[in-house]
Amino acid sequence: MDFELKRLGFTLLGLLIVLNWGLLMGAAMRKIGARVGKRYGIPWFQPWINLVKNYAIRTSLSHGIMFYLGPVFRLSGGIGLFLFMPMIIGSQLWLNYSFQGDLVLIMYFQFFGMLGMALGAGEGGHPYSAIGISRGLSQFTTIELPLTLAIISIAIQYDTLSIIEIVQAQQGGFMNWTVFTNPVATIAAMLSLLGVLSHSPFNLVIAPNENPIGPPTEYHGSFLGVLQTNRAILHVVEAALFMNLFFGGATNWFEFFAKTFLIYFWSVFVGVVFPRFRIEQSVSWFLKVPLVIGVLAVILYM
């Protein structure tokens, strides 16, 4: 019982770290984007201010119970992913609640937040919400396909679906990382990652220019704050997933920060260079190059 309490404490601490790291990473990425555009960019603490401001908004509107539950689902999705994801290998305390489920759980828990958010935004009744969601879901189906293939590939490679075991199998020098032992699967997954993090060119969902902000059009104040909180957590956790699967995981927090930053940077790096895809373009794109690479990754291990 004592251990259980300790684990709970460490998990909450980890959540706090991840949240702040996510916010900082978000700021850093905005800053990088600005510097690429030769701007000075936002102050590094801007995300925290935005968060505080949003939680401090006084007006609150509700379109109904599901509208209110939408952000709850979304944040539960983010935090849940965090809970089921081992963060730092090497310490029992930073493994969170990952003993309850394996990689498949992570794969499908991603949808928890998406689905809830979709429903919440749906009850908002705004046409753009529905359009945004329909695009998001359409795109997400195809994003998952190469990722699924990559995961099957590494599951065959390591003969397990347990993230902890996958990470442990990669210990002992960077040449053991999946990225070097199974580069094809890594490529497929990293292409999927672009979609998972929904940066440009795969950000039609919230494309501010043609479809103002997409699903969260009606969300404001604390609802929006919850969504931003989730976004910060989710980005770190997604990056952590890829870190665990392909880049040898992390044995301490510094390694964690460095690796998640670089993985996240990959999507930003692509995002600042490429313009946005239309939905049928992005769907077809994922079903061309990444799919072929993913199939190749599986065939190599068949």
Binding site: R30, A34, G37, K38, R39, Y40, G41, I42, P43, Q46, I49, N50, V52, K53, A56, I57, R58, T59, S60, L61, P208, P212, I213, P216, T217, E218, Y219, H220, G221, L224
Partner: protein, 230 residues
């Protein structure tokens, strides 16, 4: 000129303005039951705005005001010719992002409404709607002479002369047109006001709601929206 006087004036048209979409209608339900649908009541909330008192703990309120001041999300709604000046604001040359200014596409997530110049009566209606849809700590930055006294359109039959008669204005940026630097100065002025706790115009609007509404309805003859657009 005496001839002109002889010309008889056409009388004012007696017009009623009813939006057919919002007219009451009789509808048959799926079970054959008939009932009246009144869109203005059934589709729009008729609640009035309320005054949201600032946080009772001064330190907290000061902190929150600081956060509000440093995170100004602008409603991207180009109301007049001045909106041409907002674009450069986000370019590397002026880079308003460094002051925490960011454009948002939806009023629900914005705090600052930039009225960029002249306002036709028609546009005013949309401005009111968008303003009312913004959540409570909200600020109006009026840009250009037109918003102060009508500017070069002072005698036009369809542009308003004074914005503050219709919605509360926090800061004016004078000029025709003001340059982006002036706009940045306006933002900084607004920040000062917010930090000083003086930018509580959303509450003012709620307090003087009837007065504002009377002014708005005086010129918007085809008032076909609820009194407060949530």
């Amino acid at each position: 000129m005496s001839e002109e006087k002889n010309i008889e004036q056409p009388s004012k048209q007696a017009k009623t303005f009813e939006n057919p979409y919002y007219a009451k209608r009789e509808v048959t339900g799926p079970d054959g039951q008939k009932f009246i649908v009144d869109p203005m009541k059934d589709y729009f909330s008729d609640e009035c705005p309320t005054v949201h008192e600032p946080n009772s703990i001064p330190v907290v309120e000061k902190f929150l005001n600081w956060a509000r001041a440093e995170s100004l999300w602008v409603l991207g709604f180009g109301t007049g010719c001045g909106s041409i000046e907002i674009g450069p604001l986000l370019t590397p040359r002026f880079d308003a992002f460094r002051y925490g200014v960011m454009p948002r596409p939806t009023p629900r997530q914005s705090n600052v409404f930039i009225i960029s110049g002249y306002l036709a009566v028609k546009t005013l209606k949309r401005v009111i709607r968008s303003y009312e849809q913004m959540p409570n700590p909200k600020y109006v930055l009026a840009l250009g002479s037109c918003t102060i006294n009508g500017g070069m359109y002072y005698d036009s039959y369809n542009t308003i002369n004074r914005l503050d008669q219709y919605i509360p204005v926090d800061a004016y940026v004078a000029g025709c047109m003001p340059r982006p630097e002036a706009l940045l100065a306006g933002f900084n002025k607004l920040k000062e006001l917010i930090k000083a706790g003086k930018a509580e115009n959303a509450n003012e609007y709620a307090k003087n709601f009837d007065w504002y509404k009377a002014n708005q309805k005086k010129i918007i003859k085809d008032w076909n929206m609820p009194d407060y657009n949530w």
